[in-house]
């Protein structure tokens, strides 16, 4: 296992390096941020002069070289928009995004697993119909639409939950549902289908032939088997959560990475984009490795190679 882990860890640096280059090149092609940094009525001379002052008129290799050198020293540079450390800005926002992602994951799992199991155990019932519809619709509804609707219903009309921002547990409910619905739908579908498949396996019959309660059979024998695919997907979805949170954070004014990133991309604020991508990429890679390990722990048939 340790050797496996070591091999996996060895793969991280090249991946992060490729990610860094990809982003740099993309942003470089996108052009420099000078025009967007100045007022809309700035004159061409002002723009050219400002461009020179910031060093954006240097050739690509100089900019890239400087950039990489700084990066190797662990310096992501200062944000063009905010003038402070890009990495600092990213790390400052990270907890809020993680909080939101975790909450949505918890809600997603809390809904999906019971729903998936019950619908698999009682196929072709009302609850199964409900679960199936949920698992399809949840993926077919764009989350910005869902978010705005939730605000209208729960905050404006019913006034039971706050509209936006942070401050209490209540504040996280709507954004977490918005972000978690698609994921929940995916997990429900997966739990249902893998449970359906597993419930027809021979070892389920064996377990029942032992005289175990059906619920015990479902939970102890069937569910444990279905966990393998479920956990894999759940964690892979966690990566998608970071992406999905961009829009959700914007709608709910959630002070996470999402807003920072979107703003940075528009403003071509390379240091922030780079730091944010670096941090999220590292997290995703870490999660992937964790998933791999979980996968192997849960399913003894898979060996660490």
């Amino acid at each position: 296992m340790w050797k496996y882990l070591f091999m996996r860890l060895l793969q991280i640096p090249p991946v992060l390096f490729i990610v860094t280059i990809m982003i740099f090149v993309l942003v470089y092609i996108a052009g420099d941020p000078v025009a967007t940094m100045l007022p809309a009525d700035a004159s061409p001379e002002e723009i050219a002069q400002f461009r020179h002052a910031l060093g954006f008129d240097q050739p690509f290799y100089v900019q890239f070289g400087n950039y990489i050198l700084d990066l190797i020293r662990g310096d992501f540079g200062e944000s063009y928009q905010y003038g402070t450390s890009a990495l600092g800005l990213v790390l400052e926002r990270l907890p809020a995004t993680l909080e939101l992602a975790t909450a949505s994951m918890v809600i997603a799992i809390l809904i999906a697993i019971p729903l998936g199991i019950i619908s698999a155990v009682k196929p072709n019932t009302v609850i199964d119909f409900f679960a199936t519809s949920f698992s399809v619709l949840g993926k077919a509804i764009p989350n910005f639409w869902l978010g705005i609707m939730l605000i209208l219903v729960f905050s404006v009309t019913l006034k039971v939950l706050p509209v936006s921002g942070t401050g209490s547990y209540a504040h996280i409910v709507l954004p977490a549902i918005t972000l978690g619905t698609a994921m929940s739908a995916e997990i429900t579908r997966l739990v249902r289908s893998s449970m359906l498949e597993i419930l027809h396996q021979d070892y389920i019959r064996t377990a029942r032939s032992k005289g175990l309660k059906y619920s015990a059979v479902v939970i102890k024998h069937a569910f444990k088997n279905s966990l393998v695919p479920v956990i894999t997907i759940t964690f892979l979805q966690a990566a998608a959560l970071v992406g999905g949170s961009l829009i959700t954070e914007m709608i709910f004014a959630w002070p996470g990475l999402g807003q920072l990133i979107i703003q940075a991309v528009y403003a071509k604020d390379l240091p922030i984009i780079q730091a944010a991508v670096f941090v999220t990429a590292s997290m995703i890679i870490f999660i992937n490795i964790l998933t791999d390990i979980m996968y192997r722990v849960l399913d003894p048939r898979i060996k660490f190679i």
Binding site: F50, I148, Y169, Y266
Partner: protein, 516 residues
């Protein structure tokens, strides 16, 4: 086998309860919050504050917060007239020198006196450091000469009739020299100190800026609230929802579609007023473009029903105008304000005269999500032009690529934009008609206009200067290298418990807000 899922059902029940639990705690939490913050004014302008470095941003929403923490030497009132502020009087010494005298006893939030040295420090920084984003607006300042603690002179490189406008707008707050020099800029940006009516408490990025009343303020104090919070809520519909559910007192940029809803609610109202921002279309005048023919430009002007746009898209929240210089700005040609040309037959006739009996096709670019209803305005204009026989292809894009398109002159026949004028001076807004500036935009060139503009730029005789600018506007109205469409209003959603009036400069000055 059925009904044997007690464990599962308990699990399901627990999760439902958990969710319900969250809901109930929320109720508690929200009521608590509102009680505790009874004397707090909560405002959302949309985006977050960019930075506390007043010289290194260009956004009005950030300035709207800064203006409450830092004081300008002179300040415009609600209608745009320049009034004394930090400086109680000023005299023109010669064409390039103005002498100011500060009010006595003004203190920064940290207790230090605000002196002429601080003014020198602040203005010379932005005038000399060309990496600052506001540098371009201050580069006419050559030196600030300190005479004594309260007296100083601003010396410009050449006669600058716009000097007073320069120092009474964005980025002209006065900073505490000693505080910054002792602690450094990083420290200042994290805990800024100014002299204004509000003091900095905390800034949670992309979340909120918390300010508290400054009881020692030299001017009009903020008395009816203890705390002011500026919340960052980028999504329009969310902001309106917060207003309607009573969590926020003032929200900026309420979309027209929500005006009725806000008006008809129990707790909120719409407050609107003019802004110094106008929608306009820049048209190419270089050879090779159909719009180089003044008849085509005129035809476009006649094809667009400015009032209809204002009525249908802005619910009447704007005023058509044939000039982009609005009344209240120095040099405005008021005869052109409130007027617009609309006559489709005439437009068609003009087109025919220009040789386009069978119509023509042009492409207009425009930003989306930047100005009120920008995307819709563009689509409506395209529809109107089409009626007159000008098939219009739209090239709509986000603000940032649009800016680049403009800068690199990649747009085709023209583009739609809504420019503001923070100087309240035609000298700034008419600059676009000069050959120099226009060469990088639409290639418009008129020697007479050039002459008038360059003369006015350094002319210290105000009435003569105004006349020159009015003449420029008349010429522009004849030649139409730019089609001014209409001045737009600003719309705030405001809680009924608050009395609020908009300012021409789109800022929010807390001492003017009355809590009923």
């Amino acid at each position: 086998m059925r009904g044997k899922f007690s464990t599962l059902s308990i699990y399901a029940l627990v999760s439902i309860l958990l969710l319900a639990g969250c809901t109930t705690t929320s109720k508690g939490a929200t009521t608590e919050v509102t009680k505790e913050e009874d004397k707090t004014l909560i405002i959302s302008l949309g985006p977050d504050l960019m930075t506390w470095d007043i010289h290194n941003h260009t956004t009005t929403t950030t300035e709207a917060i800064h203006v409450n923490v830092f004081d300008y030497l002179l300040m415009r009132d609600k209608v745009g007239e320049i009034q004394p502020h930090l400086a109680k009087e000023w005299n023109k010494i010669d064409d390039t020198t103005v002498e100011f005298k500060l009010n006595e006893g003004i203190k920064f939030h940290n207790g230090e006196d605000l002196t002429a040295e601080d003014v020198k420090f602040t203005l010379e920084r932005v005038a000399k450091d060309d990496t600052l984003r506001s540098h371009g607006d201050y580069d006419t300042i050559k030196e600030v000469k300190v005479l004594d603690d309260l007296k100083f002179q601003i010396i410009t490189t050449e006669p600058d009739p716009m000097l007073l406008s320069r120092i009474s707008r964005q980025a002209s707050g006065i900073l505490p020299k000693d505080y910054i020099e002792e602690n450094g800029w990083d420290h200042f940006e994290n805990s800024p100190v100014g002299s204004g009516p509000l003091k900095f408490v905390e800034w949670k990025r992309d979340n909120q800026v918390v300010l508290e009343a400054n009881p020692d303020y030299f001017g009009k104090k903020v008395t009816n609230v203890d705390q002011v919070i500026f919340r960052a809520i980028p999504e329009d519909s969310t902001r309106v929802a917060e207003l309607l559910s009573g969590n926020i007192d003032i929200v900026a940029n309420v979309p027209p579609s929500d005006w009725e809803r806000v008006k008809s609610s129990d707790n909120s109202q719409i407050v609107n007023g003019p802004s110094n921002r106008n929608y306009m279309i820049f048209l190419r005048t270089q050879e090779g473009w159909p719009t180089s023919d003044v008849k085509v430009r005129e035809a476009m002007d006649y094809a667009i029903d400015d009032q209809a746009i204002v009525d249908s898209l802005l619910n009447g929240g704007g005023t058509p105008s044939l000039s982009r210089v609005n009344p209240g700005d120095i040099g405005a040609q008021e005869e052109l304000y409130g007027k617009y040309n609309y006559d489709v037959t005439k437009a068609k006739q003009l087109l025919a005269e220009a040789g386009y009996e069978d119509g023509l096709t042009i492409e207009l670019s425009g930003p989306t999500g930047r100005y009120i209803q920008d995307r819709e305005v563009m689509q409506l204009i395209a529809g109107m032009l089409e009626e007159a026989g000008i098939k219009t292809e739209m090239n709509l894009m986000k603000w940032e690529p649009f800016v680049e398109l403009r800068e690199q002159q990649k747009f085709k026949d023209g583009y739609l934009i809504a420019l503001g004028s923070s100087f309240f001076d035609a000298g700034q807004s008419l600059n676009y008609y000069g050959t120099d500036r226009a060469s990088s935009i639409n290639g418009y060139s008129n020697p007479e206009v050039d002459q008038l503009l360059s003369d006015a730029e350094t002319l210290m005789d105000e009435s003569a200067r105004i006349e020159m600018y009015q003449r420029v506007q008349d010429i522009a109205n004849d030649e139409k290298p730019i089609l001014p469409l209409f001045q737009i209003d600003q719309y705030f959603g405001v809680s009924k418990s608050i009395e609020y009036e908009t300012r021409m400069d789109e800022l929010i000055y807390i001492p003017d807000i009355i809590n009923k």
